[in-house]
């Protein structure tokens, strides 16, 4: 259950639109089903009042949309940012990807978003409505009686290991700001590190071979904002848009993870949108964990303008051979 209500957001959006602070609003509206809430751009008060939604399925991170949105006009756009979104927002600012002046950032608190696969597992197919009641979700389906489940049990993985409830960037904050959380988000990575090389290979072979190269992970990623992606560029020598064989997926995912290494804020959008449920965040988190352990704690986006670890160095950095040993406990 979210602490801030949809009505509050609607009222705020209408106010800012009416007083001319902004002329567009990046928000959420219902998709085909109640749970596939999609990002939307609103330009009128009427549209907002009739279509704007905010609930436990509003996971989409809007930061990336600002790149295109701020290029359109000279006026301001309103964007709603959950704490984790503000990190992406800052990271994009660090990389000069949009004009800060053209954005009105409204920080909103977040109690964690629900994972629809978990909801479906609990309530079955044919979901027609989901209502938040206190700490629970009441789910109506075509086939069954209403089911009540605890919100806490439906949380998405990334929200269960939420790294921060603190907004690191905003123009205005709705509600109270939270704190950076001492999360255990690297536990899964550590489990993999403790495996043998063979086991790890088997694990990733199983996961990555499911990839269908739909590119959703790339398209949603707020760090993957290249004007032209190397995988789309025939001049890059690595262009390949289609699934080919088991290697191709590794090439794609390794390079993608490397390109966002040190820039990835661990927002978890890649795993959220993957239709094959590949735990892509485990690749990014590996880089984050290694960066923390090799070069000192670094949280991309925590501070606008900070120097990313891969465009920095010290003369005493760890040697690659030692890094590999340090990076996996089975090597010790």
């Amino acid at each position: 259950m979210q602490k801030v209500t949809c009505d509050t957001l609607v009222a705020k959006a209408c106010e800012l639109l009416e007083n001319g602070t902004v002329d567009r609003v990046l928000g959420w509206k219902n998709g085909e089903f109640v749970y596939d809430v999609t990002p939307a751009l609103f330009t009128t008060v009427d549209d907002i009042k009739s279509e704007f939604v905010f609930n436990d399925f509003c996971g989409a991170n809007f930061s990336k949309y600002l790149i295109e949105e701020t290029r359109k006009t000279e006026s301001k756009v309103l964007v709603f940012l959950k704490p984790c979104d503000t990190y992406s927002f800052n990271q994009l600012l660090t990389e000069h990807r949009f004009d800060r002046e053209k954005v009105y950032a409204l920080g909103i608190p977040c109690e964690g978003m629900a994972d629809i696969t978990k909801v479906k597992a609990a309530a079955g197919d044919g979901i027609t409505a989901i209502k938040a009641e206190g700490e629970n979700l009441v789910i109506s389906t075509l086939y069954d009686e209403d089911k009540t489940v605890a919100c806490a049990d439906m949380l998405a993985e990334r929200c269960m290991v939420c790294k921060s409830k603190k907004h690191v960037a905003y123009d205005e904050l709705l509600g109270e700001d939270g704190d950076v959380i001492d999360s255990n988000r690297f536990d899964e990575v550590e489990k993999l590190e403790a495996m043998t090389e063979d086991e790890r290979f088997a694990f990733w072979q199983n996961e990555l071979s499911r990839c269908i190269r739909c590119n959703a992970c790339r398209d949603v990623c707020p760090a993957c904002t290249c004007e032209k992606c190397v995988f789309d560029n025939p001049e890059s020598s690595v262009a390949n848009k289609a699934i080919s064989d088991s290697f191709e997926e590794k090439m794609f995912h390794i390079i993608r993870a490397f390109h966002v290494a040190g820039r990835c804020t661990d927002c978890g959008e890649c795993s959220r949108v993957c239709p094959q449920n590949i735990p892509l965040h485990l690749l990014n988190r590996k880089f984050i964990k290694d960066i923390n352990s090799f070069y000192g704690e670094y949280q991309a986006g925590a501070e606008a303008g900070s120097r990313a670890p891969l465009v920095d160095y010290t003369t005493e950095d760890i040697e690659p051979t030692d890094a590999v040993l340090k990076g996996a406990s089975d090597n010790a």
Partner: protein, 664 residues
Amino acid sequence: MQRIGVFVCWCGSNIAGTVDVQAVSDALQNEPGVVFSTNYQYMCSQAGQDIIKNAIAEHKLTGIVVCSCSPRMHEATFRKTAAAAGLNPYMVEIANIREQCSWVHKDMPTGTEKAIILGKAAVAKVNLNAPLKPGESPVTKRALVIGGGIAGIQTALDIAEAGFPVDIVEKKPTIGGKMAQLDKTFPTLDCAACILTPKMVDVAQNENIRIFSYSEVEEVGGFVGNFDVKIRKKARFVNEDICTGCGICTEKCPQKKVPNEFNLGMDNRRAIYIPFAQAVPKVATIDADYCTMLKTGKCGVCSKVCTAGAIDYTQKDEIIEEKYGAIVAATGFNPISMDKFDEYAYNQSKDVITSLEFERLTNAAGPSAGKLVRPSDGKHPHTIVFVQCVGSRCAACAEKGKEYCSKICCMYTAKHAMLTRDKYPDTDVYVFYIDVRTPGKAFDEFYRRAVEEYGVHYIKGMVGKVSPEGDKLMVQASDLLANKQLHIEADLVVLAAAIEPDKSARPLATQLTASMDTNDFFTEAHPKLRPVESPTAGVFLSGTCQGPKDIPETVSQASAAAAKVIGLLAKDKLTGNPCVAASDELMCNVCSSCERVCPYGAITYVDKEFRMPDRTTRVRRVASVNEAVCQGCGACTVACPSGAMDLKGFATKQIIAEVDAICR
């Protein structure tokens, strides 16, 4: 499609002994793009080069591959050959089948196979080569020297002598630097002022030299041959053009209690002052921190006594913008602070002094008019203890001392000890040393004279503690050779303080994008072969800003830096290495990753207009590489996530083609 010629060299039997050269030229004949393939005994010989030239003409070759020795050996040769035949020299690739094949392998079949693969890789690469033309940029024929000590003075004089205009920026009111504070110089014992001040006068009188004294570099932009520099000329509240340097104001100023930095605070000066008699420019400067007029608006004595009317209390800092072709850093050194050396009681006793203070004490223009006296009571000291390596060679604590040897202390201490014994034979002089380091012409002889002729007591060992007791200083030290601990009742203790780069060097290095070592000394482009150049093109190093040095070394390095500057300024145009980075503006994200990894500051951002599909124009910032500054390392190409950055001559496509050819 390229038309490629392949030329396999036998190198006598050097290659042909392990590699079947005929098989190599035959195999490469069938590679894509290859229209001609041959082999010859010595490709680098005149006859061999003629084969290449003829083939280029006959077969209309657009690229050539030479399978021969290392490109480090003959790449330049074959590039010239190609150019002579009208082919762009960068259409030449070398397959190194000697150093990296025939010389390290024994077996003919596998050696031949590897040579073929290396040849294929070179063919694959040359298929993607494009003709390259080195960029050209004009050269502003003016040099900037930052720092007006002996290093800066010498560099400026040498450049000016060659006919190029030079500006010196000095943050103090006068040029002269540390050398102006010295009394005598080792090992010849010339008077420092006698050899320095004529040079200062030369600087003042040289038409090619402008001195910006009491000024600092504010901002540096541009690149080799074309630096744009902003210089802040600090307000000295005296009109330099009018002031005659008569000095009346400095005698009449009622504010007498200003510590005199030229004498290291051992006496006082006025709020309006000329640092020393031979200052250049010889004009007065008002110290705004102490001037009553500037602080309270009441006084104005200097203005009243100045017959020239040079005093101007309303003067403001002035920013001067100038273009330069080359910049020389000559920011010099300072002795380190003695605050952390409690064991030597520097802060407790006035009679514990540093060697630079000792220089002032023995200088005729110093606070005691050249009489060696104790600062505390003005009495003549009868026992003097010199302590070497105070803060030098100190690895224990970075805040206390420096890990390096300061290089000059052994010699100046020998000088001090010798001069003291010469002038005051009734004085006992002890020098505590760890090692006496005297590598230099007539240096060891000088030190031995101090011991043998002047009877200075050199004791191997360190001083552990100095404790003031009454008007004496109790010195506790070890004599390692006698295996004794000594207790000396001294009147004066002189500490050979380590030297460190001037504090202004670090921010300056950032402005110049010149690199520094962990001690804040400027790094040279190559420690042995390019010792007076910074890795940043167009930035040169002079004097102690690069490392500890004595005067002769400083002067020779200063002249060397000047020679490099003259060499640069003598050119009308600079031709660069054409293998530089280039950004594909359409793909650039402006994320600034490339800019952050560039060691040379070669990447800037420019606003670029783009025509959009809907026929509108959109302005977007994109990275732009300055080809004159880029050295072609390629760090940016990997930092760039979109692949917008590529390196000419080592393009992503080319390297991948080589990888593919090798793994095929």
